[in-house]
């Protein structure tokens, strides 16, 4: 295979992946437009440009992750899991959770949307500065919570604490906190659990979990690698509700 062909293939594979992500959405929408709604789609050209951006953006993003962040991150995760000191391992776990979450595209998008809605409802100021500080606050809360979740998850694997008990305690805490949180924050708080377990966080965190579990005798890599993700979707609910209690009137 020539170099040209190889380069073409490395670009083509993620492009196909991105197409596969978008195709079902487009299909369902086209079917609804043609057979149910019979209404014109406003701003079709802008929308099509946007679709092309999503397609190529996702392609480049995934390819970049595979070239740069995944190989380094996975190798680091394995080497810290195998021999690093406890302090560095836990610090690495926290920063990995924090850093991947700050860069998570779905979270950036949702936080921006939440800020727009809060500004429209006059819960926060309507200036760009107010909106972006609210959105960044949301993202920081989620990122801190994912960092803490990975930190706790790693401790759990090392100490062998029970996963179901910790998860159920976590959900009880979510339920206990919900009545005290402003009702405007609850929706975004509950959603933020699902948002974080996405493109960047899952592969890197799973590598850490599997590396750890396979370096400790008597642990099941599948079970323990999963435990980290479960925490990462639980903690953000708590932290975002607390953030809402602090900033929203």
């Amino acid at each position: 295979m020539t170099l040209m062909q190889a380069q073409f293939l490395t670009f083509f594979k993620p492009l196909l992946g991105a197409l596969r992500d978008l195709a079902p959405i487009v299909l369902v929408i086209v079917v609804f437009q043609l057979f149910v709604l019979h209404q014109p789609v406003p701003n079709l050209p802008a929308m099509l440009t946007g679709f092309v951006c999503v397609l190529f953006g996702l392609t480049l993003f995934i390819q970049g992750l595979e070239l740069a962040l995944f190989p380094i991150g996975e190798k680091l995760a394995y080497s810290f899991a195998k021999k690093g000191s406890l302090f560095w391992l836990l610090l690495f776990a926290f920063l990995l959770g924090f850093g991947t979450t700050i860069a998570e595209p779905a979270l950036i998008a949702i936080a921006g949307k939440a800020a727009d809605i809060a500004a429209q409802a006059h819960l926060i100021g309507t200036s760009e500065v107010d909106k972006s500080s609210y959105a960044n606050g949301l993202r920081l809360s989620v990122a801190l919570s994912v960092g803490l979740a990975i930190f706790l998850g790693v401790l759990r694997i090392l100490r062998g604490w029970s996963l179901p008990i910790m998860i159920i305690t976590g959900y009880l805490m979510v339920q206990l906190l919900t009545p005290f949180a402003p009702k405007e924050i609850i929706g975004i708080a509950y959603d933020s659990g699902g948002v974080t377990t996405s493109t960047i966080t899952v592969p890197l965190v799973t590598a850490l979990g599997i590396g750890l579990a396979s370096s400790i005798a008597g642990r099941n890599p599948v079970l323990d690698g999963f435990g980290l993700i479960a925490f990462a979707s639980l903690m953000p609910m708590l932290f975002v509700m607390i953030y809402g209690m602090i900033v929203l009137p």
Binding site: I29, V54, G57, L58, G64, L95, A103, G187, D191
Partner: protein
């Protein structure tokens, strides 16, 4: 065009800051703690440029296409002229919005069934269970779970019920099912909640929910608009545990019959 370029430029600048923490973390641990050089550094730098540019393009595209699309679909599906012959909305019933639930169901099913991460998990499950769980069946189960979740989530937006009650009931069902499920399926079932909400689906669901909440009379986007993603993450756990239960039961019954013969 120049407006588009300004948007892209601004987004690009912000994206650099978004990616900084993870780059800093990886480089710090690599060079300062492990004291090892990074192999193929030029390839890594190329990759980082791709990540930043790709993320910026993706975010611009979301703003231009996915958000307006979710919003438009929500508005058109709840448009009184589409819903009622006379085009006037009076005291509506939850059943007036049946197309909304159907759309939510279809989007949930289609995006999940095609999700690559799910295909990998399904094959792993088939392997672990030694064939009693079929990869195809599991994919259908997860997709039906997400679809049902989104549809019920839309129902909640239409009726304005409290999100936490719905989610709490769903988790109680999950906990009860967990007691009866076999140990090997539990991690996979819990995992299926996380893998299904992809980077494109999440913003679309958010826009759909916010669009619905802002057009249906009496709903507020701030209180009712979010929550679809939470539904889409819990319901597949239920459907996978349910599917595993049925598979075990069918297998048990088959064995029982074989025994009798």
């Amino acid at each position: 065009m120049s407006e588009f370029l300004t948007l892209l430029g601004n987004t690009l600048w912000r994206t650099i800051w978004d990616v900084m923490p993870i780059i800093f973390t990886l480089f710090f641990f690599q060079y300062v703690i492990l004291k090892q050089p990074i192999a193929h550094i030029s390839q890594v730098i190329k990759g980082l440029c791709f990540v930043i540019l790709g993320l910026a393009l993706f975010l611009v595209g979301l703003k231009e296409a996915i958000f307006p699309l979710g919003d438009t679909m929500a508005k058109q599906l709840t448009n009184p002229a589409f819903l009622y012959a006379d085009g006037i909305i009076g005291n509506y019933l939850w059943s007036d919005y049946v197309w909304v639930y159907l759309f939510g169901f279809s989007i949930g099913f289609a995006t999940t069934f095609a999700e690559p991460a799910l295909i990998a998990v399904a094959l792993k499950a088939q392997h672990i269970s030694a064939g009693s769980i079929q990869a195809f069946g599991l994919r259908v189960a997860v997709a039906l779970g997400v679809a049902t979740g989104v549809a019920i989530g839309c129902f909640r937006i239409v009726t304005g019920g409290p999100l936490w009650v719905f989610i709490m009931v769903a988790y109680i069902i999950v906990i009860i099912q967990t007691f009866f499920a076999s140990k090997t399926i539990i991690p996979l079932a819990y995992d299926s909640g996380g893998v299904t909400t992809s980077t494109v689906t999440v913003p679309l669901l958010a826009a759909l929910g916010l669009g619905l909440a802002s057009t249906i009379p009496g709903r507020s986007p701030m209180i009712d608009g979010f929550g679809l993603i939470a539904f889409a993450s819990v319901f597949p756990i239920i459907s996978v545990l349910f599917y595993a239960q049925i598979s075990t039961w069918l297998e048990y019954r088959q064995k029982g019959q074989a025994h009798k013969e």
